[in-house]
């Protein structure tokens, strides 16, 4: 095994089981204690593909399809620097899905980079029965199979490879078949395949392939070996619920999509057309068909699925037949609709819980990361509570009695809501008796994260831990993009609501300053923006990587930062720093960790150095980082001098700049105790303004909430 060994972890106490451990990569606290990441990509590449200078190839079969071509790009870009040849294998005459990726590659890596990545790819065709001789010199080491979802064809495909390359590691991208059916491991990726980093993986123990995926910046998610795993139970399930509602009420799918989007997040039916109706409908039908065979009528695809699967027809009407009759819902309609949609989702989730298909934090995240759920299914159920969740399913069964038949409803599984695993879906805490680490696995901050962060802090306090590192989970969250603007929708109509959000979140952030002797914000990813940066700046120290991108993009939405970004960082720097902070706030342009050191960041460096510094600070070792003290009194004249700014470009930006400057001025002109109210009032007031309501948040709301 090429994984870097972790130190003994038995001394670590966790609020709940962490997710990094599900990959066999230890704990986040270990990452800091060891001062390095738990897996090294170069070592793992050598383990999977052979040593440098003698690498075997990655073969992706079905390479011209949507999944195959996407993975050719994603894995090809990551493995090219290690000299791993990438072989794309497909049938002659398969539509060329690979060349279509070139513009995207150029956008991501520049022309030279794109040419280099594609130059490392070998495209071969085969007849489906025998492998081409040209494959031999490339010595395939790892096959990612992305051929059609037909069991017999897949099995024969593996046999063909094993006959020629007995030691080859094989993973199927299947969205539905368990490994026990296929006889190979699973690496089921999520759409859009070029950029979505998530793979559901099925294997007895975390393999070097899975660890390599993690080390390459991808997000492997271990799931149990059950039909359709987690993602496609959710995605196919919500699509089925939508189409079943369509079948029973005649409400057109476009309208149902709007209401699903309003209440859950995705447009599940439209997604099929966007992906490509023919292939996507077949996959959904296939998952549902097999799930129905295993678990009963809850999953039975409706005749519409059969019709669309057979014909490949789009679900939405063509452009020249854009709908002319609306299907408005009244309150009763909407309540019944929710039973039809949430009922089956809750029931399907009860099945996944009963089967323990995944760590709850991972199960919850799948909907958000891969199926456009605004909140994970478990977070939604947690909000409903056990009684209401069960009642929702029971009402659904009245509408659709067939769903109650079969082996698919486990209400008892919903009674675990109070378990720590369910209570801490997004935030975990662990400690070694001296230092605590709080990890956040959600890339945007919302009410769930806020509540869980408070519980995590409470837990650490109860454990008598007063030194803490706040960071990401090193697994699901690869960046911290700021506040989830969906949370602002109610605040567009209610200043009170805006003040509640800004006030609550700011009070949570202040706990990092007030309730710990030492708190360290550590940003391990690509970026930390907006609300997350405001949160992190409340820590006594902020440590990032050299190239971490830090910024306040609020002005571009526009909104006024609501978690004290308009005064808290000003209280920790001098007049030079004020100018830079104003630049950040008023342009929305980010700054790198290296360039922000001294006035926003306390240390920035390469990963291992940054980890070591963060741990040194948190553990009280010698760290040589001077603490930037927080001025708790009035900070006068902060806005007397203004940086040179590029033209605002729009009245919205102009207005937002003025509002931010006013907020900085007013919040810095009072002491720390009073500043929270001042900041909150400004932020909430701006959320109610026309500029904000007509901006991106308002736009998003009108597109989301109908």
């Amino acid at each position: 095994m090429a994984t870097t060994t972790s130190r003994e972890t038995s001394d670590i106490k966790m609020m709940r089981r962490d997710t990094l451990g599900t990959l066999g990569l230890g704990t986040v606290l270990d990452v800091f204690r060891n001062g390095r990441l738990p897996a090294d990509p170069a070592e793992l590449v050598s383990s999977v593909f052979g040593p440098a200078g003698d690498r075997g190839a990655l073969v992706i079969s079905g390479a011209s399809g949507i999944v195959g071509a996407g993975k050719m790009m994603q894995l090809g870009a990551r493995l090219e620097p290690f000299g791993v040849p990438i072989v794309g294998l497909d049938m002659p005459g398969a539509p060329d899905g690979i060349s279509r990726q070139y513009p995207g590659l150029v956008r991501a890596f520049g022309k030279d980079g794109a040419d280099r990545i594609l130059g490392n790819m070998v495209r071969l065709t085969y007849d489906g029965k025998s492998l081409p001789d040209q494959l031999k010199p490339l010595r395939p080491k790892f096959l990612l199979e992305a051929i059609p979802e037909i069991l017999e064809i897949k099995r024969a495909h593996y046999e063909m490879f094993r006959a020629s390359y007995p030691d080859i590691q094989i993973r199927s991208v299947t969205s539905g078949f368990p490994a026990s059916q296929l006889g190979v491991g699973i690496a089921h990726p999520a759409f859009p395949h070029e950029i979505n980093k998530v793979f559901e993986v099925v294997e007895d123990e975390p393999s070097d392939v899975t660890k390599l995926f993690w080390a390459l910046g991808l997000v492997p998610v271990p799931v149990s070996d059950d039909w359709s795993f987690v993602l496609d139970v959710l995605f196919c399930g919500i699509t089925l619920a939508a189409v079943r509602y369509h079948r029973m009420t005649n409400t057109p799918v476009w309208k149902i999509d709007k209401y699903v989007r309003k209440h859950i997040g995705p447009n599940p039916v439209r997604a099929h057309d966007a992906i490509g109706a023919k292939g996507a409908t077949f996959l959904t039908w296939s998952c549902l068909h097999h799930l129905a065979g295993e678990y009963g009528p809850l999953f039975e695809p409706t005749p519409e699925f059969v019709q669309h699967k057979d014909s490949g027809q789009d679900w939405y009407p063509p452009n020249h037949f854009r709908p002319v009759v609306d299907f408005p819902f009244d309150d009763d309609d909407e309540a019944e609709f929710l039973d039809w949609i949430l009922g089956p989702l809750v029931q399907m989730t009860s099945l996944m819980l009963k089967e323990e298909r995944a760590h709850l934090g991972l199960m919850n995240a799948m909907g958000e990361l891969c199926a456009q759920f605004r909140r994970g299914i478990l977070a939604m159920i947690r909000d409903l509570g056990t009684t209401r969740a069960i009642a929702t399913v029971e009402r659904y069964h009245k509408h659709h009695p067939e769903a109650a038949k079969g082996d698919s409803w486990y209400p008892a599984a919903l009674e675990r809501i109070s378990d720590p695993e369910w209570q801490q879906l997004y935030v975990n805490a662990e400690h070694d008796g001296k230092v605590g680490v709080v990890t956040i696995s959600r890339e945007s901050y919302n009410g769930d994260v806020d509540a869980e962060l408070n519980r995590a802090i409470d837990w650490l306090k109860a454990e008598k831990i007063d030194r803490v590192i706040l960071t990401s989970d090193f697994h699901l969250s690869t960046q911290m993009v700021g506040a989830d603007t969906n949370e602002f929708f109610p605040a567009l109509d209610s200043e009170e609501e805006g003040a509640r959000i800004a006030g609550d979140w700011s009070r949570t952030a202040r706990r990092l300053d007030a309730e710990f002797a030492v708190s360290v914000g550590f940003v391990p990813g690509k970026r930390c923006l907006g609300g997350y940066l405001e949160l992190m700046t409340h820590c006594h120290y902020l440590v990032t990587l050299d190239d971490t991108s830090l910024g306040f993009p609020e002005v571009t939405l526009p909104v006024v930062p609501g978690m004290e970004g308009c005064h808290w960082p000003f209280r920790k720097t001098n007049a030079d720093g004020w100018m830079k902070l104003l630049q950040l706030l008023l342009t929305g342009r980010p700054v790198s960790g290296a360039n922000a050191t001294g006035w926003l960041v306390d240390f920035a460096g390469p990963m291992e150095e940054a980890l070591e510094v963060a741990w040194s600070i948190a553990s009280g070792s010698d760290h040589r980082i001077a603490k930037r003290e927080l001025v708790r009194e009035i900070v006068p004249c902060v806005t007397d001098a203004m940086p040179e700014l590029p033209p605002a470009g729009s009245p919205a930006t102009q207005g937002a700049r003025a509002a931010i400057v006013a907020t900085v001025r007013d919040a810095c002109s009072v002491n720390l105790a009073d500043s929270l109210d001042v900041q909150t009032r400004h932020a909430a007031g701006f959320l109610r303004s026309d500029l904000c309501r007509k901006g991106r948040v308002g736009d998003e709301r009108s597109r989301t909430l109908i």
Binding site: T249, N250, P252, V324, V325, D326
Partner: protein, 402 residues
Amino acid sequence: MKEIAMFPQARIPYGTWGSSFFPAWQQSALAEVNIGQFAGEAMGRILGQRRVPKSELDYLVIGSTIPWHWKFWNAPLVASCLGERVPGYHLEQACATGLQAVVAAGAEVESGGHETVGVLTFDRTSDSPVGVFPERRSYQRTVPIADVWDNFGFDPATGNAMIQTAGIAARKYKIDRREVDELTLHRTEQYFGAIESGFLDRVLFPLDVLNVQGKPLGRVDSDLGVRPLTLDGLRAMRELDTCVTGGTQTHASDGMACLLVTTEARAKELSPRPEIDIRFLAKTEIRTDPSLMPEAPAIAVQKLLQKTGLGMSDVAVVKNHNPFAVNDAVFAKVLNYDWRDMNRTGCSLVWGHPQGPTLTRILIEAFEEAVDLGGGRVLVFGCAAGDVGIAALFEVSEGGKR
């Protein structure tokens, strides 16, 4: 009395029907849409409101009279707009379309060809298309025509306009203008009474029309163009032909109406009130002398009664399509029937005439009225282009007493 049953196997399931409002020509969002598409989607909406999944349909008979874009694709296209890919065909018989389509659906069920047949009639008189038809023998190489206005203005078989047939009939039957004005006022009062009582809420569905961006274009929630009349106002109106004024004739409008025809067993499953049984009894058509269209329905009813051995006293609900008030006055004379006793919930004289769906809405209103009465026979009739009269009898079981 002999057993009367035109289609013994066919039933119209109570309460699975509905109609749009019929806004007058150019007054609503309906003037802006493809009426075939609108009708299909509206039927899906109405059936949804009635809790009938569209998947129950296995056939669709559509009826319309005015060309619409893509009408070549016929009932299958409209069915696609409804959201259910079933076969079907288009039927057209001018103003008799709305009744003829229901009878045709009954025949489909009776023949065993299909179990549940949707009837969907619609028309958009607004912006009726202007067609250019090459005519080899015409003195003009091409003749542009406005479908609605040109046809109403000229019967190629007789050379007369529709309105002239009303004048000719009024003169033949010596109809008094004063009676026609009173009759018209009464019809208007019947209509507004039906609105006030909430009766029409069981028939008509408000429908929200969207523009091409998916934004609201308008809500069709009234028979726009209908206004209360006074006797003085009616009497003051200029006579356009004998007994015909702007007030005593209908107006062009847009709309759709739909219902289902199915077997007895399926009707019980589909209807919210399975105890109500609606059967087809008889139907007939006649063609009267040239340019006497308004007397044609009366003669058709005479023939129907003769054929069935029934009298007007055997009928509980009498309702007709009356583009001219003269129609009702003639009917009263020919059948010796008090015109006050018919069209008790309104009629096309008042709420307008979109052609295809007119008699379908009339039929739906008649069934609802019969249910209010606790059942009985329903007589529905009307005139159609070419001096044609159509009449049909249905029976509503007495189980439906409200």
